[in-house]
Symmetry: D2
Subunit: 354 residues, 4 copies
């Protein structure tokens, strides 16, 4: 049996191909994908900026139904609606048992940087009609009956990543938090900061449409770097500096502004994927004596994480659905990449229907 | 094939029996047990105070060699020397993925009180020639080459439990910590408090021999309740109350003395198994306004925990081996229980050789 | 010069008296009180259940203007609108420097249980025309210009106490939290749980009017113990138990229900003032092996705490103003106590105008 | 009345001068200095690399006796032996009340980077016969009777800074920790890592004498970068990377090696004062996806901190006294600076006797 899938064929080329439909081995599950999406990381893969092997199926955000369960996977049933996180920790390796599941070593005795990210990276991904979920016992998360597929589409990556910024930044009740960049991840980070008790959430972006949505996602104030001196304005609004600054873009300028925006003793929580060169401005860093904390986070995964995120969706705290701006069929995948990679038409996230 | 095993036959009777030797299923491992021990909990089982089903093999502290690996267990080899913790978290259920592995639900979507304790409780245990380890991928911990079996015998339960008192009590550098009861667990709690940075560790027990060993395990000062007013003396030594008090016996009197020994804002870290009735003295509790914290902990398990504990043994920080006072062969099990249950001859822990 | 003040005259009698108006010593500030309130604790004092010395001025929630500054208090100005917390940590004793400001020893080298609670307890309180604020440098918190006196009336005690339940209970994003009792403190605890990221907040009370307000203060679901088996319903709603249960009444039954409502590994965060006898039900406590945490908290104080709480009011997250149901003049204080002590007319909090 | 003091006269010149002896104002205390020391920071001041105003008395590590108490300082007595930390938090400003006392704003409503460091920076310091201690109530720490002056000399800065690396790095029981540079602060960081429960402490330095002392201060293993590839060796010893790496020098190379030495999910705890340029190597940083944490810390101060550190000295956990290698009289201060600034004769710390 075969299936349709979006395959990385070579630099600049992701194409729809007919490939064999896989069979689940022990501990695995086969899902029929009912919905998935495209991530900025996929665009890096497309452009050859992040290396994957040719022939790999791309995508790491599966929503689907269980088609078949491998040996040893219990407590689930065929036909059940589930999601799996972008990161699929095994739960049984040294990294997972130490609370670093995103750096999972797949049962082993060590840590692998980014080891938990397997879908569309080291194994076949979700932009296909079917997908194999590894370590299914730890990674299949049933969708609550009252939630539609499209409502949980962002849980596997965008919501998990965005919320982790506030969690790892240890946002506390009454904090002032600034979020640099209001793309999909930044918007979820804004919601996460608001949900963590910040009494002042400041959203920063250069696009007015994104700032408008930032307000709906929990920002009390929004700032456009084209219209003001952002760090000066943050210092004014916070009386000296934010408690936590979240970086959600991955550029030197936003990292640096994040550090310049926090008070002595404050925290920079970074989500961005940096390339080239990253420098710490020593003036803003108080020469290393400012009691600063800088944390980075790779999207937490696993079924318990997904259960929690779906519960947040179900609680209707924020209009997460507004982040999905476009819908394509899987066989329109190349058009979808074209739109998304070029950030046309106000695109935030695309729903992709196999 | 059969094997010898200590079986709970009925109230007051644990007997050596010839039973079938098990075969590992998927995800399991069969160990040939080379060393194990008897725990106070086993005595509760013997006496019918803690119910288990008749016919169960007792014991939860296996040291051994891998005899056979079930399907899907990778990265280990037959003949390898390993231990497994008393608690065997699956790593893949909601409880495990939430950091509550001792309350493991075996792959499920909830929590089971004490669910991670399976050996000698809900499945066959270690007082036998062979033992099946469930969720072997998460629970087999290779013994470092430079450690003898007898050196790691206490890792599966006593050390893990004892050390957890300081960890969960959040002992910090410069704290004053008191440990009530200096049995095997209390002695390891004393070592754990010392290792966590306490600048004053106070050991309490009524037996002079145990107090002498407490000093070797890290106590700076020891107190005998038969010789002084313990809580008054603790308040004097600490200038008003300990930061953390560890309860390692499970009695109302020690729980209450622990609470009376801590300063306002202090923490009681409880390891004891209580029966009957447990009351919080409201005077010591400041009527609920003293910013107190009370934590309980069930022995943390899993291979990463075991790896860390064996590393502590290897670092030769404390004379853990002195806690093993007697050695018996498995076919002397009934004598071993008799000695241990009656706490004769200064027994602390017994090494049991299958 | 004299002033009017509500004075504890003896058991059952708080009366308006003409007393000398105080002068601020070094480090103190004199406030002209513009608004204050009555707390449940004041009723305990009235009834002789909590002992204070005769002649003491009652009350611990001052809103006012700076009338005079003692020597050494800098950065404030006469006429400035400020509040001070119910708890006035000195910032300079061992307890304060250890983060236990509510157990402040007033500059000393130890801890005093409840030592930070001075207003209306060990020094004169706020139900008067003027009040002396000790350690003014650490305790005067300027009111933002855009907030009215009545909007910040609950910050000194009710909000600080209520929010601390979620903070000390370590509520995290996606948690299920239940709050037992929806009086003023419980309602603020409900808001605090919601603000801390809980995806399910359950409010429990027997009064329908309070449950209705609970929903406006952040509860997703409300339960009336007269209408259902509360702990069973909580277990059903949470799939096995809440992550955190908050006790906001101070009774054996609510403490016990809180413990019965949490999952293994869960936390009970207690705000209640207990009297008589407090027992831990060992079945719900898993005999001490359930990885439970029990924390108590006394209202955090200090100017930074007050600044943060006023910012939360300013962010308009919840209708805190609805908790103030009645207004009295200071010279009607005896009627105010009568209404409040007997909980007539749906009273929650009373605004008291000197 | 006058006194002798080491005064910064201009770039390259610290000279002994006769200056007026100060009088304590409200909240201050005057100490007669009985012992103090020279810090690497003082050498930066001497060289004009860290700007202070001309005429300032240098030094920030006072051991002495109370000569006179200003108004409002209670609970201390003239003649009492005390120390004060290098950092003197006021305990009453927003920063202090938020737990960021090193970034103290002296009673104010904000944060000042390094604001808690006043001695020998913004006010006169300890290399003098007398010193004024600001916010004395929060900063005078009585020396236990059984400790000599020379035994507590390192508490004000070196010990507090060194230990903070392990505290802020959140070293846990069983961690592997590496400490880059074994000068006085690094040696105390080594002791701090050991005291925090690390089962493997690795000390790194290029000087054999310092490595020998590192072993006495708690290092299990020492590495000399002139003799091996340090990061490769650390990865081998730790099975993939240290849990925590401490940077105690303030150079790009040690910062970078620290980051290269930690496992994915690990922490770099930085104590160094950086100058010039600080770059984060993106390969070691997993492009920002490695779940890394980077923390910096400025020496924690205040009397409670000092009390705790003196208790650690009293507990005789490590031979702190071996870090004091030379003794000079205050009137030999210029020779002392010459020896120390040029790191001759194996100098670690100098005891300076006024």
């Amino acid at each position: 049996m075969t299936m349709q899938a979006a395959v990385f064929v070579g630099k600049g080329r992701i194409e729809l191909r007919e490939v064999p439909r896989p069979k689940p081995g022990p501990g695995e599950a086969l899902l029929r994908v009912t919905l998935t999406t495209i991530c900025g990381t996929d665009v890096h893969i497309l452009r050859g900026e992040y290396p994957v092997k040719e022939g790999l199926i791309i995508g790491h955000e599966p929503v689907g139904r269980i088609e078949e369960l491998g040996d040893g996977v219990t407590g689930f049933s065929v036909g059940q609606r589930v999601i799996a996180g972008a990161i699929t920790p095994c739960g049984q390796c040294r990294a997972c048992l130490s609370g670093s599941g995103s750096q999972c070593s797949h049962g082993g005795n060590g840590y692998e940087a980014l080891g938990g990210w397997r879908f569309g990276n080291t194994i076949n991904g979700s932009q296909a009609e079917y997908i194999l979920v590894p370590n299914a016992q730890a990674n299949l998360a049933p969708i609550p009956d009252d939630l539609l597929d499209e409502e949980v589409l962002l849980c596997p990556d965008i919501m998990s990543t965005g919320f982790s910024a506030a969690e790892r930044g240890n946002v506390r009740i009454g904090d002032a938090v600034v979020v640099f960049a209001q793309g999909p991840i930044g918007l979820c980070a804004t919601a996460g900061a608001r949900m963590s008790g910040a009494s002042l959430v400041i959203g920063v972006d250069a696009l007015p449409a994104r700032l408008a949505l930032a307000k709906r996602m929990g920002a009390d104030v929004v700032l456009n770097p084209n219209e003001c001196d952002v760090t000066a304005e943050i210092k004014r609004l916070t009386g000296g500096g934010a408690d936590v600054a979240i970086e959600a873009l991955g550029k030197q300028v936003t990292f640096e502004n994040a550090l310049r925006s926090v008070r002595p003793g404050g925290t920079v929580s970074s989500l961005g994927v940096y390339s080239g060169h990253l420098t710490v401005p020593l003036d803003a860093y108080a020469a290393g004596l400012g009691d600063h904390t800088i944390v980075t986070t790779l999207c937490p995964g696993g079924k318990e994480r997904m259960r929690r995120l779906m519960n947040i969706v179900a609680a209707r705290r924020f209009p997460f659905n507004e982040l999905v701006t476009h819908t394509f069929k899987l066989n329109e995948i190349e058009s979808a990449y074209d739109l998304f990679a070029n950030q046309r038409d106000g695109v935030l996230k695309i729903a992709l229907l196999p």
